[in-house]
């Protein structure tokens, strides 16, 4: 009897194990689970509402220094453009024959600026700036565009709270538009 009970327990354990194992696997059982730490390490996506912005903060004045060192050689000392995109100005030109598309005139969401600088800039060493430096450079570029003041310091909350000048400038795809 004792043996039988033990056997039942063993079978039950095996069944439970395999059942919970099956729940943890997809149809093919291929791949391994990604841990929370692994996801946090690779998930650098920043939502337009600022979701997933990291801690830290950066000032316009510090951003001016970082920009001069890391960005100005391509984008110009004041973001006027060069080998890299022009970053400043263009407000009021978007509906003209010569639109100038910049962060200030065209980009709809400020958190996108943090996302792009962190993942792709500077072009010769992407993902090399600290989060603080990325906040600072974002603040400096937004200041050059008149979006924040010269004394501004940005963090996750204040960057997400910015309403960009062209936020309401985007519409859905209306094609086919020629028939």
């Amino acid at each position: 009897m004792r043996w039988r009970e033990t056997w039942i327990v063993v079978v039950a354990v095996i069944l439970c194990g395999s059942v919970s194992g099956a729940q943890a696997e997809g149809p093919y059982g291929i791949g391994r689970p990604a841990t929370a730490a692994e996801i946090a390490g690779w998930n650098i996506d920043i939502g337009r509402d600022g979701r997933n912005l990291p801690g830290g903060r950066g000032s316009v004045s510090h951003g001016r220094e970082v920009f001069a060192q890391q960005c100005a050689s391509c984008h110009g000392d004041k973001g006027e453009g060069g080998v890299g995109d022009r970053l400043v100005g263009g407000q009021g030109t978007i509906a003209t024959a010569k639109p100038i598309r910049t962060v200030g005139s065209y980009w709809p969401y400020a958190p996108t600026l943090f996302d792009y600088i962190r993942r792709a800039m500077p072009q010769n060493a992407p993902q090399s700036l600290s989060d603080e430096d990325v906040y600072a450079v974002s603040a400096f570029i937004l200041n050059l565009n008149g979006v924040v003041g010269p004394d501004a310091t940005l963090d996750a909350d204040s960057l997400a709270a910015i309403k960009m000048p062209n936020r309401d400038g985007f519409v859905g795809d209306a094609r086919p538009d020629v028939k």
Binding site: I30, D45, I46, I94, V103, P108, A120, P126, F170, V171
Partner: protein
């Protein structure tokens, strides 16, 4: 950095370079840089040529293979005057190619942070977000899934712009276009492996390049016909095409087909990345801009005879070109031989595949008089490829992306073929 200026620079400059390359022209239908037509030859009967009197190259002299040295002019159309080369594009020489498949070495390229060299053993794909089971896959894992192969075109959405200069050759105009047989695993299978949550509406794809390029894709497309691709035309992807893994979204603008794919983030809304806000949006005359404009609409172009080529003599010539639609199969291609006044059906080469290039042909007797020829595609939705004037009337010149205009070629009395809208 991105598209407008480098694409424009490219059209203007590569055209001049290719024109100069094409200088060794004698007679025949001269088809650009790749073909050096030789009217004069010593190799006439009864002469026996040297290459028959001595053995050729031994087996193994080219363990991978390369085109004939006489085809060395058939190369990607790359500007020598780009502002920078790590965020730039190189075009397929469409006018040099036959059929519908683009050789891998000539497949168009567009990079935003250079071409990374990735060890496939080190590469991982992470799938996370609104899924039951966040997963990490090795390349070996992905190759264990049921595989499939399909033929689809891929086209850059800025191909070409709406303002001059438009370029001189078919490649200058629409060379950011290629077509291949892709092999990989259906994205739907891989998403099902992780288990989608009901709130899952978008998938944000990220590349493992120095741009960490990111685009958001509607879940409907991911479940319809998207693929995770590891091979192209039978061989593993080339580094320029995303080795060891890329996303393929048949019929969607090229930029969304993320190369060097390392992450899929399932989300409730798009991420509004730089590429889908400040780039790859279409600016209308009233200052608003269309966002998330993914599909490449029906389009065609005559590749022979086309700009930069020359008809040697009046008489028979075959008109041929390619047509494609992001919305499905090409139903019909019409050709006009009178500057757009009348149209006749071209013959479509089988197979006619969905979201793939379709080759069309029309036999033609050229009477030696100046003429303007052009093609227009009609896809299975009934959509008719518009003229440039019709597009400009609705979109204005600032639109930039998704220019699928009809492109006419002017043939002069001496046989020279030029861009009729340039």
């Amino acid at each position: 950095m991105s598209s407008k200026s480098d694409i424009e620079d490219q059209s203007a400059r590569t055209t001049r370079r290719r024109f100069l390359q094409g200088g060794a022209v004698a007679s025949g239908v001269v088809l650009g840089a790749g073909v050096s037509a030789a009217a004069e030859t010593d190799n006439l009967p009864p002469h026996v040529p040297d290459w028959m009197k001595t053995p050729g190259d031994p087996m193994g002299s080219q363990p991978y293979g390369a085109p004939s040295p006489f085809e060395k002019g058939v190369i990607k159309n790359i500007s020598k005057n780009l502002k920078q080369y790590i965020s730039a594009s190189g075009r397929t020489p469409l006018q040099e190619l036959d059929g519908i498949i683009t050789p891998n070495g000539l497949f168009y390229e567009r990079h935003h942070g250079g071409v990374p060299t990735i060890d496939p053993v080190q590469h991982r794909l992470m799938l996370h977000g609104l899924v039951e089971r966040p997963l990490i896959f090795t390349m070996d894992d992905l190759r264990r899934f049921p595989s499939e192969s399909r033929i689809h075109f891929l086209e850059c959405s800025g191909n070409p712009g709406y303002t001059k200069p438009y370029g001189k050759t078919a490649s200058d105009l629409v060379g950011l276009l290629s077509c291949a047989e892709w092999t990989g695993v259906s994205l739907k299978l891989v998403l099902e492996e992780a288990g989608l949550k009901p709130e899952a509406k978008w998938v944000i794809a990220e590349g493992a390049d120095a741009a960490a390029l990111t685009r958001s894709i509607p879940i409907e497309k991911c479940l319809e016909d998207a693929m995770l691709v590891y091979s192209q035309n039978g061989e593993r992807l080339r580094p320029q095409q995303g080795y060891p893994l890329r996303l393929l979204l048949p019929g969607f603008e090229g930029n969304m087909n993320v190369k060097w794919l390392r992450r899929l983030h399932v989300a409730a809304e798009p991420v509004y990345s730089r590429e889908e806000t400040s780039k790859y949006t279409d600016l209308l005359p009233d200052g608003t801009a269309r966002e998330f404009s993914f599909y490449m609409e029906a389009k065609s172009i005559i590749t022979r005879p086309s700009g930069g080529q020359r008809l040697s003599a009046p008489g028979f010539h075959e008109i041929t070109g390619i047509a494609w639609s992001g919305h499905g199969k090409i139903k019909r291609v019409e050709i006009s031989l009178d500057d757009g006044q009348s149209w006749q059906d071209a013959r479509l080469q089988e197979p006619v595949l969905t979201r793939a290039l379709t080759r069309f042909r029309l036999p033609w007797q050229w009477d030696g008089k100046p003429v303007v020829i052009q093609s227009r595609a009609i896809d299975e939705t009934g959509y008719v490829q518009p003229t440039l004037a019709e597009l400009l009337a609705v979109r204005g010149e600032n639109f930039f992306y998704h220019n699928n205009a009809i492109w006419p070629w002017r043939i002069a009395a001496d046989g020279d073929v030029t861009n009729a809208l340039a």
